[in-house]
């Protein structure tokens, strides 16, 4: 079973609905990297609302997905982190620098819209 990746306009949305094994995480990373290039999207949203825990491996993988995506021209936003998960993540002192976060999918889309719009203005 792999994570479904949907395209919505300029963005890709990956909604994780079950706890991932390490190999599934790596598979997701490769899929996303591949799809970003093929679909020429500007943004990537990963919804983790269904995850009860985000351990250091998953966090690091999300970070490397974000960096890979940036290199391929897309911004990454992680959405749907639950309060308990957030507390655990900061307590484990995970490296959370590479990715941006938003409350839910809707917020994530708004954040990307604003970012990409601003980038466009900067370029003009």
């Amino acid at each position: 079973m792999s994570v479904a990746i949907l395209q919505q306009g300029d963005y890709l949305i990956a909604s994780i609905q079950f706890d991932l094994t390490d190999s599934q995480v790596l598979e997701l990373r490769d899929d996303l990297s591949d799809r970003i290039g093929r679909s020429r999207v500007r943004g990537l949203i990963i919804d983790v609302a269904a995850l009860d825990v985000i351990d250091s491996f998953v966090a690091r993988s999300l970070g490397s997905i974000a960096i890979t995506a940036r290199l391929r021209g897309a911004e990454t936003v992680i959405v749907g982190i639950e309060p308990d998960v957030a507390i655990a993540m900061v307590q484990f002192d995970l490296d959370l620098e590479p990715f941006q976060t938003a409350l839910d999918l809707d917020e994530g889309l708004t954040l990307l819209d604003r970012r990409i719009q601003r980038d466009g203005e900067d370029g003009a």
Binding site: E82, P83, V85, A86, V90, Q91, T101, L103, E107, L111
Partner: protein
């Protein structure tokens, strides 16, 4: 002895002889109830205990304690006395009766009764010894029971109050759409800091907050654990999609944070709550315009 109740001592340690002595002792205490009770009240007044209570109140409580005390000596069961002690504690704790007073009056009663025994059995030292052998362990156990009941009741009250304070002390308030403030007042220890983080994150989710202003004007001091917790709270808020602004750091706290070497790079701080709210509005995308004035064209 009532077999359903817990005996004061194991039966083998109470020979028939001693049981009879205890009976005799109890009969004596019942007969001289009025006199011994009055003596006890006098001793309490002399020792200036229970000064928050009127003499009438003291007398009625004393009567009840005396009767319970003698009953406990007779049956060997401290349950009734324990229940009474708890009930009494509940009544007198709010009036400011201290632990030493409660222990003091129970020990006084023990002494008054022992004195009574000395007087009665003064002619026969051997008999007096045996009477005291029966009396002392029971009396001590009663004193311990009353003292422990009082302290337990007091601790229960303290726990309840702590719980109430904890609930009151960390309100998360929504000041406008998507903007929360969290005013922290008083001592910030790590258990409170943790609870505060949980409440804040829950509120962020429930109110779909974009910005939270954490105001620590009312916090006098901060230590390394709490400072790190604050940094974690800010970071966890970010993971939930909300920016946190910390306001009202006193110069003392600011210096402490620098001295402790806390990593504050992730923390957005503003001098006071007003500045924090202005910054928050800017982040959310609101702009205040005075009525009648035209919006500044350059700012749009």
């Amino acid at each position: 002895m009532n077999p359903g109740n817990q005996p004061l001592m194991d039966p083998p340690q109470v020979p028939e002889d001693d049981r009879l002595l205890l009976h005799e002792l109890i009969a004596y205490l019942r007969d001289h109830r009025t006199k011994l009770r009055e003596e006890w009240v006098e001793r309490i007044t002399q020792a200036q205990l229970l000064r928050v209570m009127t003499p009438k109140e003291i007398f009625s409580e004393v009567t009840a304690v005396y009767d319970n005390y003698v009953d406990a000596l007779e049956t060997g069961s401290v349950e009734t006395l324990q229940a009474y002690a708890r009930d009494l504690s509940e009544r007198i704790i709010p009036r400011g009766v201290e632990t030493h007073e409660v222990l003091g009056i129970v020990l006084l009663l023990r002494d008054v009764l022992a004195r009574g025994l000395f007087v009665k059995y003064a002619h026969d030292a051997d008999l007096l010894n045996r009477i005291l052998d029966a009396y002392e362990p029971a009396a001590n156990r009663i004193a311990v029971t009353v003292g422990v009941s009082f302290v337990e009741e007091r601790e229960r009250v303290i726990r309840e109050q702590q719980e109430a304070i904890r609930e009151l002390s960390t309100p998360v308030l929504q000041v406008q759409e998507r903007l929360l403030i969290l005013p922290i007042i008083g001592v910030l220890d790590s258990s409170r800091a943790r609870q505060l983080t949980e409440q804040l994150l829950g509120a962020i989710q429930a109110n779909r907050a974009k910005v939270v202003v954490i105001d620590i004007t009312g916090v006098a001091t901060i230590d390394l654990t709490v400072a790190n917790h604050l940094v974690q709270t800010v970071e966890a808020s970010r993971l939930m999609g909300a920016s946190a602004i910390v306001t009202g750091l006193s110069s003392k706290i600011a210096q402490t944070l620098v001295d402790l070497g806390v990593d504050l790079s992730m923390m957005r701080t503003v001098g006071d709550l007003q500045g924090g709210l202005e910054e928050a509005e800017r982040l959310i995308g609101y702009r205040r315009i005075e009525r009648g004035k035209k919006p500044n064209a350059a700012a749009t």
